[in-house]
Symmetry: C2
Subunit: 226 residues, 2 copies
């Protein structure tokens, strides 16, 4: 008989997982991110996490619900990280934009596997529950950026008429592109692909300053010619 907490639960409830379950989720995430959800079998996961195949259904109900559990778990983390930005009320608009850029990159860097999985699976998404989770996160991300830009406009730091929606597309698109093209970028910059620390210090550092300068130029008055 399965453990009781899997029976019926609402969205809001935080689920407490056992050590074994967390280990299972972590191994599964690693495999999902590396090989894709479809290309990872429950047998792969079970082998890697050193549990019986049946435990996946026993713990999570199904392979798909395991994926949902992983998403719910990590999106909670992401939400917590984003709170940093909301708290930073006393920053100037320019500094706030910088912080948004840094925070987003930090969130991915800290949890690379999950973000790679999310970027990869969001294209293929048939699962309504996952789509809803990602949609909520995108909306929150956009609103954070919009608040910062609108404030900057009102206070006269930024020019008027900025298309925040498109600007958000640029931020998330550029960062995602960097992480999904890791292999290619490592080749170009002559970095060992497995060396994530080198990737972060050499390439992601470039990415940070590029985005900050790009946004500053675009948002500032001087940048607004024509």
């Amino acid at each position: 008989m399965p453990p009781n907490f899997l029976a019926g639960r609402t969205m809001e409830q935080e689920i407490v997982y056992s050590q074994k379950q967390i280990e299972l989720m972590d191994k599964a995430l690693e495999l999902f991110a590396g090989n894709g959800y479809d290309n990872t079998s429950v047998r792969d996961i079970a082998r890697e996490a050193d549990v019986n195949i049946a435990m996946i259904s026993y713990y999570f109900g199904s392979k798909e619900k395991l994926l949902e559990a992983i998403f719910a778990r990590h999106l909670t983390h992401v939400r917590n990280i984003l709170q940093q930005i909301v708290k930073a009320r006393d920053l100037s608009p320019v500094a706030k934009i910088d912080k948004i850029i840094d925070t987003y990159i930090d969130a991915i860097t800290r949890n690379r596997n999950f973000h790679v999985l999310m970027i990869r699976e969001q294209v293929a998404l048939k699962n309504d529950k996952l789509y809803e989770m990602i949609r909520a996160m995108k909306t929150r991300n956009f609103e954070l950026m919009q608040n910062a830009v609108k404030l900057g406009e009102k206070q006269g730091y930024f020019r008027k008429g900025i298309d925040v929606r498109m600007l958000a597309l640029t931020l998330f698109g550029t960062v995602n592109q960097a992480f999904t093209n890791k292999k290619y970028l490592c080749e170009v910059y002559k970095i060992e692909e497995a060396d994530s620390a080198a990737f972060d210090t050499h390439i992601i550092t470039k990415l940070r300053s590029h985005l900050k300068l790009l946004f500053r130029n675009h948002l500032s008055h001087e940048g607004n010619h024509k």
Copy 2:
């Protein structure tokens, strides 16, 4: 016995496909783009293209080689489209950047399915042949942009010290993000997702002008403060 042209061939040779084969590739591409490569079975393809399952192996050797054939076919198209940029020698650096942006967006718009497939599968890529094809394309794309930027720098239109590698990441990342988030964007802009024409006129038009302004601000002298 299979048709002779599948026996042994070099990279360079252009392959001539029969009408039936092209139809098969087109239907397969449609399904791959819609549901992902792994989620599309050869039975799905055969049913949609109205051929026997065995014809896929008979024509292309395997499902994977069918994917390779689709990539080779469409990447040839992309290469031809990019030639437009090389030919446009008499344009000013600013106009040339605009043309690169437009051409890249045109290439995707004209062949949406293939690009969605490519963006989706490049994350998961195990296949060396496909990776090589995509790598070559990325390098060509980068070089086009680098040539335009370097010329603009030399002629004094652009500021010095522009990180072209990161700028390319921004262009391709932003555009890819727009196309992979079509569903979400259509919700936000209240457009029917199936209405691709509306997506192009309302959202992609915004994307074009956003990117052009963004790049202009970033590349120009005035934009270079700090």
